[in-house]
Assembly symmetry: C2
Homo-oligomer: 360 residues x 2
């Protein structure tokens, strides 16, 4: 096991055995005498990598028939525009549940296309919770309902799937993708960047229900049209081949971990270890409502911001990096994605106890 | 040197020493204890990689002040929409020089935004030449003039920079990027996908003159607005960090080859070796006008398509792969990008002579 644990919020830690395999295959993938980076995307070698990655993702998430899986580029930020460009279907408004920074960005971009209704918001309590379904004011005429399943900055996560009736549910799962089961059939569209739980930045995965395809707004650029990508099996132009390859290796690693059920068990264990410490401490604080706490991103503060630098320096000396909180909120943030070993969280908890003892 | 030469049109061969370095640094970049894939794009490690890549590219191409360099995603196909979304500046039409398949795709997409005038076309001679500047019918009111500097499928390349007066010149240089000098100051905008001469698919480089920024069409999605990317130093959202890293290593490799002047000399030598054989043979044919022949992509046919399969099988046995021509034109295509060693072209030429001797 590596001697340093990386708590980056993304791009983020990847499984060590995946990185080792990538390094080993760098000059010769499976006897092809080519690096995956050098392969034509139309050749049989890359086509097999691409097809296997999709098949493994479908198996992991139990994606039902009637949904397309797309391997795209541009990150969730591109999806903030691409979703309304495709899913308005002549309607005039979109319902948003506003749970923090990433919701806010999605809402802002959607306003280029339609009216963005805030059906519910956590702003009244500084975005420290997911508003209960009973408090949402949904419009049955809305084109879709958009949620951010996990707010990477605020550390606020849905642990339930909202019922939105006949209005399609759209979920940005960038920072919780593959960390827990997701009932795909209850969604119209699911999207996420790869650079948290899946692979290198530059790959974006979209899972979309077939009936929502083919209704893009007039004048939508081809590269923003889901149907064009679906019809071309995500090879409308050269896909981000190397990123798809690494993602495919991560999917295979996940299967070796017992699939989503297996990794979820570990994610619960890791996050409970950390939240238990936070709750038992008068030194560290996490402001998030316990029912809405993220299993992936755990922000916390020390009693005095002047302690932040010593905390980070000590953590680095103890083999833990990237613990600094997002610049917009300060404090600390421990991102403990799928590939973070439990040993990393254990080391962090021990270090935090020791730091509290010596600085508390 | 590797025992197999890869003539893929893209994604394509990369320098062996770059791939070895990528493999070596996979688990620990410069003592950071992280893979580049795992680094926060806001951290000092990745920021240094990103800044160095831009600085090296500016040095290699001699990019003057007053131009921004953007590291984007989505390939040239996204640029086919992004250029008109940003450069119309209230104008109604775009002038295109139509030299083949990639011009055609750019023209088709531009029609979503404006009138596409064909100022000149090689169609009368089956796209085997670049129309002379004297024959172009340019409109002084056009928003810009678009050329495809090298047609990857047809093997037709500009070896001159057209004068378009006060109308900005826009060049798609995807498959000739960094293979020869380019007078950036005579262009308004230059763009290209990385997956030929630069690095992994999933990175697109745009070089744009400052005065063309900030005039995007109303309603343009943020991710399609050059100014938004320029203002954020290409970190509007998570950039394709690993692809930028590999591109940066290729830029450093290019500097060790004597920069663009050095690599151009080798590219001339390699392409002349191959064209000399084609011209001296009654067996192989290349239809392109000698003045417009691509140094990067050399399509050729055998006298009988029934010989294609034996040719490819023999080539593979002799350590040469990916020589099959594009599915739209058939025959063969040897892509001999910067990273193809002269030994690869020599081996191909020898093999072609031998094949002609035994099958001619």
């Amino acid at each position: 096991m590596r001697d340093t644990f990386n708590f980056s919020a993304g791009p983020a830690v990847l499984p060590e055995e995946v990185l080792r395999q990538v390094a080993e295959e760098m000059l010769d993938w499976h006897g092809s005498r080519q690096s995956v980076m050098e392969m034509s995307h139309r050749g049989k070698e890359y086509m097999s990598i691409h097809a296997q990655a999709e098949a493994d993702l479908r198996e992991l998430l139990g994606i039902p028939a009637g949904y397309k899986v797309l391997f795209l580029q541009g990150g969730a930020t591109t999806q903030f525009a691409m979703v309304p460009a495709n899913l308005l279907r002549g309607r005039k408004s979109i319902d948003f549940v506003h749970t923090g920074e990433w919701s806010k960005k999605a809402i802002k971009e959607a306003k280029l296309f339609a009216t963005a209704n805030i059906a519910a918001s956590g702003e009244d309590r500084k975005f420290t919770y997911v508003p209960a379904r009973a408090d949402w004011r949904l419009d049955p005429q809305a084109a879709y309902v958009h949620i951010c399943a996990n707010e990477t900055i605020g550390g606020v996560e849905f642990d339930w799937t909202p019922d939105t009736g006949d209005v399609p549910l759209v979920a940005d799962v960038s920072s919780s993708f593959l960390s827990r089961p997701i009932d795909v059939a209850r969604h119209g569209l699911i999207y996420g960047g790869a650079q948290k739980n899946i692979g290198p930045a530059g790959l974006t995965i979209v899972i979309v229900r077939d009936d929502l395809l083919g209704q893009a707004n007039p004048g939508t650029p081809t590269m923003l049209d889901y149907k064009a990508h679906a019809d071309a099996d995500s090879m409308l132009n050269t896909p981000p081949t190397f990123a798809v390859y690494v993602a495919g290796l991560v999917f295979q690693w996940l299967k070796r971990q017992g699939g989503i059920a297996g990794i979820e068990k570990r994610n619960i264990e890791k996050s409970q270890l950390l939240y238990k410490l936070l709750d038992s401490s008068g030194f560290y604080s996490n402001p998030v409502d316990p029912a809405s706490r993220s299993r992936m991103n755990v922000p916390f503060t020390l009693p005095d911001a002047a302690l932040d630098e010593p905390f980070l320096a000590g953590a680095k000396a103890a083999g833990m990096v990237q613990l600094k909180g997002h610049r917009s909120v300060g404090g600390m943030r421990a991102s403990i994605y799928n590939a973070m070993p439990i040993e990393g969280v254990q080391r962090l908890v021990e270090y935090m106890r020791e730091f509290e003892r010596t600085h508390g």
